[in-house]
Every structure is written in structure tokens, then in C-alpha cells.
């Protein structure tokens, strides 16, 4: 059963096609050699016989039967390789070195193969010969030939060599094809089996690598990368679901109890109005949180890459900084921009603008009055380095990874408004753009850095 399956694999079929092509060309080559050696020898024999017949015919024309007979007797006893027999119209032997007219049907001018007995050193041997028959004037038959025993033997050997080489080629090819497809099938089997295991729920499984660093390893490696990505996305989704459960319950609960408490006892119109307005504010906050979560999730899937276009980061930086500058001024802070050079990247203008807006918003929000915020854009090698620096409280080193998570807000900043999603969004936008996002110490204050890859 396994064996039969093997025959159906693509690898085996490919091997078979290859084998057929290879066998055909090998066969053509050998046939060519065959015709060029054996064929050449045969043609030479025939030519000699023809020439001799021509000579004998001439002799017959000049000196008649006796002359011809004389020559044949001479040539027959000469010990050469020629075979001769001259016979009367009823095939009775008249002269020649063949003991009798060979037992083959002949007509005038025919070429024949026949066998004859040769006696040398007392031993009689059956040998093959080739000859041409001729009917002379007066009804006499003349047969002139050559012993081609050796030649026929060589031909026979070449033929059998041809046959066996064909058999061996096909046999080896079949075995090779089977071995090859067995090998390929085994590697694919491993991948298929692992895939089935993963589909069956063993999500942590990965394709084993053979270490041969070949195309199968590459395939496995790519599949593993894909699985990792899927796992990450799934992890992200679970996290979003958890966050929604934990962090949206609180404002929803607040909203609900506010309305409930208002209804508990009769209230003035003013009180109702206030309660409703409060509810609207609460709902707006929830909507904003939802939008932020959705945006983060969308950036995380990488789907937004479809909207990427070439853009100049310097323009983005100047625009966003301009949007926030009055806000800084209102807090008696300075917002400086240092973006001396253009920096072309591929990206989503809206998302990058929003990420930068989040960083500048934080910088202004978490820096006391009189502080300074600097937005700088530098081109370093293949990178565009975007930095937002402030002179505020900064974030302790131990918290820098933590604050990138959704809904995380530090104790020190509880009295500022916010939902704790700003930095998560920056991190997601960074990942979407393959840009490294890091937080550092600006001594004093925070420095947030995004390193984009320049467009090539």
C-alpha cells in the first residue's frame, strides 16, 4: 500500500519523466554509434563483393565459362576470405570453395545471408556469410560472398549490449526515482503530520528542521514564522478581550449606577439634566476607548500596510508639532522642532501622525509648567530617528515595558486625564511600520524614540 502511494507522488512522476527522457537519449546515442561502426563494416563488405562480381562478369564476357571457372578455382584456393560457388542452371556445383549451393532461395542480383561449414585444422565449424547472387548468360549461377562470422558476432554483442544497457538504465532509473520520491515524501510527511497535529490543537508544535539547510528547511522555517505570527495575533486578540472585560466594566458600571441613582428618588429637572450630561460624557469616553482599542488591534494585524504610501516624516513632524504648539504655550512650555532634513519612508500618514500626537500629548501632559518639549527628526544611515523629549517626571526604568501595555497608567499620573492607551497605540503603530520603539531617560524627563527604516 505504502509502495503504491509512492508511485502516485509528484516526485516519482517527475523521476519517471526524467528517466524516460534520459533513456531515450542514451538509446539514440548508442544507436548512432552502432550504425556508424557495424553499418560501416557491412557497407564495406558489400562494396568489395560488388567490385569482385563486376570483375568476374567481365572475365566471363572475355573468356567464357572456362576462364571464369579457372579464376574461381584460383581465388578459392588462395586462402583469402572470399567465398565462391559457380553452379549450373540446376544449381549443380561446377567450381568454388563452397561444397554445395547454399540452401537459401535466391533470385538474380539478391543479397543473402547463409551459413556454411568450414573445415580448418580438421575441425568443421558452421559460420555465417554474406553473398550476392548472379545469373550469368547461359543460365549459370554465380555466388560471390565473404565470411562475416566475426562481424555478425560483434553485431550480436553490440545488440545485446544495447538491450542490457537499456534494461539497466530503466532499472537504475526506477530505483533512483523511487529512492528520490521516498526521500521527498518522507520530508513532506513530517511537515504534513506536524500540520495535522497543530490543526488538532497542539498549537505550540513547530516544524522540525533537518539541519540540511535546503528548500525543505526553508519551507519549514517559513511555516514556523507564520505560526509564530498567528500565535502572536491570537495572543493579542485574547489580550484585547481580557482588557475589554476588565477595563470597560468599570466605566460601564459607573455609567449604569449614575443613571440608576438619579432615578432612585425624584429629582429636579436640573439634576436629571446633569445626570444625562454626565452619562453622555461617560459614553463618549467609552467610545473613545473603543476606537483606540480598535485602532490598536487594526495596526497589530498589519492589515493597514495596504494603505502605505511614500511620505516625508519631516512634514508629519512639522504638522503635528504645529497642532500641539498652542497647547504647550498655554501651559507656559516650549515646544521645539528640530527636523533639518527630509526623511522619506513608506507608511500611513494618519497613523504616524496619531502616534506622534500621543507622544507629544504625553510630553506636555506629564511635564510641569515651564518645561520644554523637543521633537527631533534625524537621518542616521538607513534610519529616520524620531524623538520626543521632555523635562518632566520620566518613567522609571522598571516600568518602561509595562507602560506599553494597554490601560497601564502610572500611580504618579493618576490625576491627569487619560485611558492608558496612548503608548500602546504608539507601540502598535511602530510594529506596523517595522519601526523600533523605545523609551529612555532624558535626565530629567522622558525620551521616546521611533526608528523608521528609510524608503530605499
Amino acid at each position: 500500500m505504502r509502495f503504491l502511494n509512492l508511485f502516485r507522488t509528484t516526485a516519482f512522476r517527475l523521476a519517471l519523466v526524467y528517466l524516460l527522457l534520459f533513456a531515450a537519449s542514451a538509446f539514440a546515442l548508442i544507436a548512432f554509434i552502432y550504425w556508424n561502426t557495424a553499418g560501416f563494416m557491412a557497407a564495406q563488405t558489400d562494396e568489395t563483393i560488388n567490385a569482385e562480381i563486376l570483375g568476374l562478369q567481365e572475365q566471363y564476357g572475355q573468356s567464357g565459362l572456362p576462364g571464369l571457372r579457372q579464376i574461381i578455382i584460383e581465388r578459392s584456393s588462395g586462402g583469402g576470405s572470399g567465398l565462391y560457388i559457380l553452379a549450373s542452371s540446376d544449381f549443380t556445383r561446377l567450381a568454388g570453395n563452397l561444397s554445395s549451393w547454399p540452401d537459401v532461395p535466391v533470385a538474380d542480383g539478391d543479397w543473402v545471408y547463409f551459413t556454411y561449414d568450414r573445415t580448418s585444422f580438421g575441425e568443421t565449424e558452421r559460420r555465417s556469410a554474406r553473398a550476392r547472387h548472379f545469373v550469368l548468360r547461359g543460365g549459370f549461377h554465380l555466388l560471390v560472398g565473404r565470411d562475416v562470422h566475426e562481424r555478425r558476432e560483434i553485431e550480436g554483442r553490440i545488440e545485446s549490449a544495447l538491450f542490457w544497457s537499456a534494461v539497466i538504465t530503466v532499472g537504475l532509473g526506477l530505483i533512483g526515482g523511487l529512492a528520490m520520491s521516498r526521500n521527498v515524501t518522507r520530508r513532506l510527511d513530517v511537515i504534513n503530520r506536524t500540520s495535522r497535529d497543530i490543526m488538532g490543537g497542539d498549537l505550540a508544535r513547530r516544524m522540525p528542521l533537518s539541519g540540511a539547510d535546503d528548500e525543505f528547511d526553508e519551507l519549514s522555517d517559513n511555516l514556523n514564522g507564520m505560526l509564530d505570527q498567528i500565535e502572536r495575533l491570537m495572543g493579542g486578540m485574547t489580550e484585547v478581550a481580557d482588557n475589554i472585560a476588565h477595563d470597560l466594566r468599570t466605566p460601564l458600571n459607573r455609567l449604569r449606577s449614575r443613571l440608576e441613582v438619579t432615578l432612585m428618588k425624584p429629582a429636579t429637572e436640573q439634576e436629571y439634566r446633569e445626570a444625562l450630561e454626565g452619562a453622555i460624557t461617560e459614553a463618549d469616553g467609552l467610545i473613545a476607548t473603543f476606537n483606540s482599542l480598535l485602532l490598536i488591534a487594526r495596526a497589530e494585524t498589519g492589515e493597514a500596510r495596504e494603505n502605505f504610501e511614500p511620505l516625508d516624516l519631516r512634514v508629519v513632524v512639522n504638522d503635528v508639532a504645529e497642532l500641539y504648539e498652542p497647547l504647550a504655550e498655554a501651559k507656559r512650555m516650549t515646544l521645539k522642532v528640530a527636523a533639518p532634513r527630509p526623511a522619506e519612508i513608506n507608511g500611513d500618514r494618519g497613523l504616524i501622525s496619531q502616534a506622534l500626537a500621543n507622544l507629544i500629548d504625553n510630553a506636555i501632559k506629564y511635564t510641569p509648567e515651564g518645561g520644554a518639549v523637543t521633537v527631533s527628526l534625524k537621518v542616521a544611515g538607513e534610519e529616520a530617528v524620531l524623538e520626543v523629549r521632555d523635562t518632566g517626571l520620566g518613567i522609571p526604568e522598571a516600568e518602561r515595558d509595562h507602560v506599553l501595555r494597554r490601560f497601564v497608567r502610572l500611580e504618579a499620573s493618576r490625576n491627569e486625564p487619560g485611558s492608558g492607551l496612548g503608548l500602546s497605540m504608539v507601540a502598535a503603530v511602530g510594529r506596523l511600520h517595522d519601526a523600533e520603539f523605545s523609551l529612555g531617560d532624558a535626565k530629567p524627563g522622558l525620551v521616546a524614540t521611533l526608528r523608521f527604516k528609510l524608503k530605499d
Binding site: 459614553a283 463618549d284 467610545i287 473613545a288 476606537n291 480598535l294 485602532l295 487594526r298 493597514a304 495596504e306 494603505n307 504638522d319 504645529e322 497642532l323 500641539y324 498652542p326 497647547l327 504655550e329 498655554a330 494618519g350 501622525s353 496619531q354 500626537a357 500621543n358 500629548d361 506636555i364 501632559k365 486625564p417 487619560g418 485611558s419 496612548g422
Partner: protein, 225 residues
Amino acid sequence: MRLLIVEDDRDAAAYLVKGLKESGHVVDHARDGVEGLALARAQTYDVAIVDRMLPRLDGLNLVQKMREEGNQVPVLFLSALGEIDDRVKGLKAGGDDYLPKPYAFVELLARVDALVRRRQPEQVQTKLVVGDLELDLLSRSASRGGQAIDLQPREFLLLEYLMRHAGQVVTRTMLLENVWDYHFDPQTNVIDVHISRLRAKIDKGFSDALLHTVRGAGYCLRAVS
């Protein structure tokens, strides 16, 4: 103003109709795309408010059909799909504005007013005037009561937008979209500070203010009548 609402959600449509009627509009309501198309063929409207997802005939297809038939009514798309892609698709299909759900009613109202205004044939203007405030679009200069006002380029755009919509409520989101071309909500209301800066330039030293804050909605540039 006569408005067409094509919205399949019964409650949402009821609130919408009630709100728009109370704001002084005449409102027709269609429950699906086919009904909406029939109404749009039978009546001339000032603005059509169309939900993206409709039974029988999808919102995008509805507007496409209306445009093919030469109906130029300004269309405001409503959609639960608030993604950038969908906004682009909506505008491509012939929509004039796009409002993701959930939206604030004042936002919808302000946008409808802006669309009505847009519909009026707009001759090429070189000068905008509101009261004694003048904006010269050619020399890109502003003055009030003959006194020149020095404006930054963005302030100029902001004032231009406000003046083009003089007498109407303009929301922060509308300003952010039309003046800055941003389609996100900044956590802090940065627009407010820009407005107060502009206000300092055009209203300071004058007894009658032109730039008003509309509580819970946005701003309105209006001359004292």
C-alpha cells in the same frame, strides 16, 4: 431643509427623525436602499443621510445609482465601519461626507448644515466678509475694521473655513478634518487652544465678538445682526 434618511435600524432612525425635525428640518425616512432610491427619484432633497449597510440595496450602490441617474444631492454616509478605507470607499462612490457610528447628534447636525451650504452654487470668491472682518484669498491677508490682522498659514486656513461656514455650527472634528486633514480624535482638545489664539487675534479689542463657542457642539463665526 428637506432631508432624506435611509437607515434600516428602527430606533436609530426614529431618534434621528425626531432630532432633525426638532431642529427645523423636513424629514423623509426610507427603511432600505430600494425605498430610498424611489424617494430620491420622486423628490428633490437638500441632503441625503445614508447608512452604509442597508437591506435590498447597499448604501454604496444606492448612492452610485443616484449619481448615475444624475442626482447631485449631497450625501452624508453613516457607518459602523469607521475605518479609513471605508471612508475612502464612501467618498469614491459619490458620498460627500462620512460619519462613523457612534456619532454625536450635534456633529451630524453641523455636517448636514455644512453640506447644504456646499450645495449652493459657489461662485469663485476672492474675498470673504463676515461683519467687518475681511479675508482676502488672493493676497492671503485679513483685516477687521480696516485694521490688518497678522495670521499664521494654519490660522488663515482655520479662519477661511470658519468664514465659509459663517453662521453655522462647526465642530472640532470638522475643523480637524478640513483644516488639518486628520481623521483621529486627539485626547486633549488641541483645537480649543487654536481657536482661542485665533479669537485673540480677531476679537480682542472689539466690543462685539465674532467667534462664539457653542456649548457641547463647537464654534460658530457670526456677525452681530
